[in-house]
Symmetry: C2
Subunit: 229 residues, 2 copies
């Protein structure tokens, strides 16, 4: 397949590339919460000098993924139960407005897309495929966010989601909670299809609140296992 020679040449500053890579490493859990981020190590790892690396760390710090301590360096931000308790109500509120706005702007084609994704997700659920379920779940929420036609809102929501993404393994949904979540998603989709913004907002907010309950339970269950300070 011939490459498109008219496509713009990809050129980005190092600090951008670095920020993105580090963000990915942190959000995906490849860098453990609390892990010290030695500038020297990261520099040799990425083959760059300290200047762009430090600039990237400042950005990630502003995003809440990295904690900088003066004269003591950078570390991957810890994800405490408190952080989750704070983040989820905010995410709930943001998803709620996103839902309202989406009802106003979403196209029929997008709704159809969502319905397809939803059915695939239900199939994943019935097959017990947790990974596939999570992936489709994210795609659905991402699509709603996009349909809200508010880039600022989307960016804030993604930033928050990135911060708490590392907790998704803690969740460890019970069978009953999983079933409940699927049910909630069905209702969410119906509200979208009828463009009932108010109802959708309520559903999304509740959905997030329930998610928090699950995470909280999973986290307080193995109290001793959560030694991350």
């Amino acid at each position: 397949m011939p490459m498109d020679v008219t496509a713009p040449i990809e050129r980005r500053p190092l600090h951008n590339e670095l920020a993105e890579r580090l963000r990915h490493l942190i959000v995906e859990g490849d860098l453990a919460p609390g892990e010290k981020l030695s500038e020297r190590d990261l520099c040799s790892r990425f083959g760059v000098s300290r200047t762009p690396l430090r600039e990237a760390l400042k950005v990630l710090s502003a995003e809440g993924l990295v904690r900088l301590t003066p004269h003591r360096g950078a570390a991957v931000a810890n994800l405490t139960l408190e952080d989750l308790e704070e983040a989820f109500p905010i995410m709930g509120a943001l998803e709620a407005v996103a839902g309202e706005l989406a009802c106003m702007h979403i196209t029929a084609a997008e709704i159809a897309q969502l319905r397809t994704a939803h059915e695939k997700m239900v199939a994943a659920y019935e097959a017990g495929d947790l990974g596939g379920y999570f992936a489709l779940n994210e795609r659905i929420h991402e699509t709603i966010l996009k349909a809200a036609r508010n880039p600022t809102l989307a960016q804030m929501q993604r930033g928050l989601a990135g911060r708490v993404r590392r907790a998704r393994y803690m969740a460890n949904m019970s069978a009953s909670r999983w079933a409940q979540a699927v049910g909630e998603h069905e209702a969410i989709l119906e509200a979208l299809e009828t463009r009932d913004g108010e109802r959708l907002a309520m559903l999304l907010k509740t959905h997030l609140a329930n998610k928090l309950v699950t995470v909280r339970e999973a986290l307080t269950a193995d109290e001793d296992g959560s030694r991350n300070d």
Copy 2:
């Protein structure tokens, strides 16, 4: 008066200090939207080298106050009508949850404080003191935010408020709108005093939505005067 020798010695990195100063300059409008931020100029102005300055600019860029263009430098982010249209619904949603949470956590003492501030604000309104009104208005919203006991939420709301603060001169409230705003505030306070979270959420959301309408009108009125691209 003897100085407290046991007080911790104030020591902060330059990039922190720089970020804070620049943030203030931008938010308060001392640096005009769209204004180019030459590294050389800022360095000589603050008497620092480029390294910490650049780190500060990265942070402000992440906050949305500065726009960085590769190989083309930094500029104060422009505040378009679109930005406001995006920001206000988000602020409304955030204030709404803040209100709900505040109803759950606020103390009687804090409610009393709010009532006092509110009455002073009404007095400022009746005296036609727009500056005093704005200041007290901000303090009230700030207090509600604090009463929500959710630092993450407060930080996000402040970040958003900072971005749009520059628009507060555009608003140019009409007498009728001003009266309406005061009325809304009275209702907000009553909801807080009765700890009616749901009602408070609705009121705050409406309050913000109305504010947007005002700003939008002020902005579309002098269409030609808003040449800021």
